[in-house]
């Protein structure tokens, strides 16, 4: 009895525990080209330097635990809900561990949600190299979402408000995908890994920021073979891409009435896009069928025009034309300017004609830019909202 009781004291519970109060949880991370912050420069003057190339500056966003504690009315109104800290160096892991020498609570990556990469950095460095650490680490989960920023990446993780956590804001915006075609499905590390390893080209959502506000603006195109950023799709072209690839979940298309030139706003309720790879005499062509159904939610045409079948036909034609314009401009940019396939044409060829795909897959982006694509669009209007007659 005594022995068993004595043994109880040896039962320590957790071997290598870290109390959560003693850790800093980082939820967002921004990668910029090397540019030291004022604090860092000051620290280095005092002699806090180590051997490194200053190629990257990275900023992590840590949840501010002092704020939002037990409802005490401290002057916390001034305090933000997060803390951003930066380091400069050439190894992300080294920089993360460097924080251990600067903060009393070590940082942990279990809850990393967003990674923002600056455009200039993405043009210089390979994506798979930049993201290598995140995929290797045992704390960081592959569910983290990757963005590109045309502005300084760390600025997208800033806000003036004391209640908003910028990393969560970015993540929250991706949830609005069903309302706008300008928002892509979030690209997580898990999805990226396969594309990077296969050498496929892909797009990443571009985020711009000004004065602590952010906006999703188009997408960055990453070339598969070089894994570097080669250019951007603007917002319209991204809409075209969403329609082309059928990735869009819903959103709005603005068209103009043919004769009167007045605004007609069409809400897509259902979007279907099918890419067909056709091989004839060893030559590959693509046929895309895009079908949208939706309703008119706003129209400014004068009231003498009645809403009848003819009007519906006209409107449908206007919407169709608009979609066609969007899709064709995107396609032109992808095939002629960037010479990359980010819309999934290669995937369809791989699935439908695996034997043809196999020899082409190495230079697919180049091959793709030469392949003719025909597009068929059908747009249906099912209703006119709550206003049915004038």
């Amino acid at each position: 009895m005594l022995i068993s009781a004595a043994i109880l004291f040896l039962q320590t519970g957790c071997w290598s525990k870290d109390e959560i109060e003693d850790l800093s949880i980082y939820i967002g991370m921004a990668l910029d080209i090397g540019e030291q912050s004022k604090v860092e420069k000051e620290l280095e003057k005092q002699g806090a330097g180590y051997a490194r190339k200053k190629t990257m500056t990275f900023t992590i966003q840590i949840i501010n635990e002092l704020k939002g504690g037990k409802g005490e009315k401290t002057p916390a109104a001034e305090q933000k809900a997060y803390i951003n800290v930066s380091e400069t160096g050439d190894s992300i892991f080294e920089m993360i561990r460097e924080f251990s020498t600067r903060m009393e609570r070590p940082v942990i990556g279990h809850h990393l949600k967003v990674i923002v990469v600056n455009e200039k950095l993405a043009r210089r460095k390979r994506m798979d190299q930049l993201l290598d650490f995140f995929l290797r680490d045992n704390d960081i989960r592959p569910s983290a979402v990757v963005f590109i920023s045309k502005s300084k990446a760390s600025h997208t993780l800033e806000t003036q408000s004391s209640t908003v956590v910028p990393a969560f804001r970015l993540l929250g915006i991706t949830d609005n995908q069903y309302r706008s075609l300008k928002i892509m499905s979030p690209v997580t590390l898990a999805k990226l890994e396969g594309k990077m390893h296969a050498g496929m080209s892909y797009v990443l959502q571009n985020v711009v920021s000004a004065k602590g506000e952010v906006a999703f603006s188009g997408a960055a195109v990453i070339k598969g073979s070089s894994q570097k950023l080669i250019g951007f799709l603007n917002e319209k072209e991204l809409v075209g891409l969403m329609l082309l690839s059928g990735q869009g979940k819903g959103g709005q298309i603005k068209a103009y009435h043919e004769e009167r030139g007045e605004v007609i706003s069409y809400e897509i309720k259902k979007l279907e896009s099918k890419i067909n790879a056709i091989v004839k005499n060893g030559k590959v062509t693509f046929e895309v069928e895009i079908e949208t159904t939706g309703r008119v939610m706003e129209e400014w045409t004068p009231s003498e025009l009645e809403i009848n079948e003819a009007f519906t036909k006209q409107t449908e034609a206007a919407v169709k034309e608009e979609i066609e314009k969007l899709v064709l401009s995107t396609l032109a940019k992808l095939q002629d300017k960037y010479k990359t396939d980010v819309a999934g044409f290669g995937q369809r060829l791989r699935i439908q004609h695996p034997k043809v795909w196999e020899p082409m897959k190495k230079d697919w982006d180049e091959e793709f830019s030469q392949i003719p694509v025909t597009i068929h669009i059908k747009s249906k209007i099912t209703e006119y909202g709550a206003t049915s007659r004038r």
Partner: protein, 369 residues
């Protein structure tokens, strides 16, 4: 007094033990190992073929054991091959079971150290685990069977739920085209998938404990179908979500699938701990069964008490688990076990069966009962 097979288990328990022994370390790596070999998304077909091969091999073993009712492999092998050769084969089989046992706990230590208990020394993880297993094994085959009966439904339930959440990432296009590069890639993967079913050889031992050994064939079929289903679901979900190219670079792809999913609004946002819990239970059951089979072999060969061998083998298995120097070594050890299993339990039973038939062992055992 030599250890005799006195305890009896039902055919359902036999199937459960088989399923639990088969499900083990492999489930976390299977999608990668298959995709590496096939290079196409057709891995799931390889899994099906591998499963059927395992069933076939299991049935051959049942046929082999049939004339020797109530006897384990160790007890009757001498009658087929002669005493000396029989002892040698038994020793190899014992060594093989020890190898599996040590491999399982080593993989457990690696994963626990990387994902769960960073900083806890692996000997601490392994030893606690082994002691708990020892405790169960001293209870005999009935205790093992009853615990396994509890473990298996929990495993299936949690597994189905956890992989179901992965559906948000699932994309059928990652699994297409089916047989795009012909049948060859699928066949390349079969060896790998057949190996993940190792554990079915436990039937050679537990058939002796069966209440009604004539139902052994059914138990093999049912017992193998459960892991077969689980493996198919795993490969389909993981490759379907991460794509072939995404899978081959990941060390523990199945875990990565679950780590890639976050469900908002539920009590839990992350589910990898659940997967790891059932996975550890499966490692536990595989370890327990192989460790038991190895000790039983030594006990029956030397006709001495089982308990002594149980305690004696524990440090041996522990030392064997520490042989591989790094993770690559661990995976090589796994490959070695797989190859050994192909010869030992793929080819050898057929040979033994032929000899046994020639010597006319038909029905002898039944008359002796």
């Amino acid at each position: 007094m030599a250890y005799q097979a006195k305890d009896r288990i039902t055919s359902i328990q036999t199937a459960v033990i088989l399923a639990n022994t088969m499900l083990g370390a492999g489930i976390l790596t299977l999608p990668r190992t298959v995709a590496e070999k096939t290079g196409t998304p057709d891995g799931w077909i390889s899994v099906i073929i591998g499963g059927f091969l395992a069933i076939a091999a299991g049935l051959i073993m049942v046929m082999l054991s049939k004339p020797f009712r109530g006897k384990t492999f160790y007890e009757y092998i001498g009658q087929i091959t002669g005493k000396w050769l029989g002892s040698l084969i038994s020793l190899i089989v014992v060594g093989y079971f020890c190898l599996i046992a040590s491999f399982e706990i080593r993989v457990l230590a690696e994963v626990a150290d990387f994902f769960l208990l960073e900083g806890t020394p692996s000997w601490a993880i392994i030893m606690v685990f082994m002691w708990v297993s020892l405790y169960l094994v001293t209870g005999g085959i009935n205790a093992i069977a009853r615990l396994f009966e509890i473990i298996l439904p929990i495993t299936i339930f949690v597994f189905v739920i956890v992989t179901f959440f992965g559906i948000t990432l699932f994309d059928v296009d990652n699994l297409r085209p089916v047989l795009g590069q012909g049948v060859m890639p699928v066949l390349n993967g079969v060896k790998t998938t057949a190996i993940t079913f190792t554990g079915f050889e436990a039937i050679l031992i537990i058939i002796a404990f069966m209440h009604r050994p004539e139902k052994a064939s059914k138990a093999v079929i049912v017992g193998t179908s459960i892991p077969l289903m689980i493996y198919i679901i795993t490969v389909v979900m993981v490759i379907g979500s991460l794509s072939v190219d995404g899978v081959v670079t990941r060390t523990w792809p199945t875990l990565d699938l679950v780590r890639s999913v976050e469900i908002e609004g539920l009590i839990f946002e992350r589910f990898e701990s659940f997967l790891l819990v059932i996975w550890i239970m499966q490692i536990y059951s595989t370890f327990t069964m192989t460790y038991y089979a190895a000790s039983l072999g030594l006990s029956q060969m030397s006709k001495r008490n089982l308990n002594g061998f149980l305690y004696g083998l524990l440090p041996v298995v522990f030392l064997m688990a520490n042989i591989p120097k790094n993770l690559a070594g661990v995976f090589r050890m796994g490959d070695f076990i797989g190859n050994l299993s192909l010869y030992l339990f793929g080819a050898m039973p057929l040979l033994l069966l032929a000899i046994s038939k020639l010597r006319g062992h038909k029905g002898e055992g039944i008359s002796r009962k």
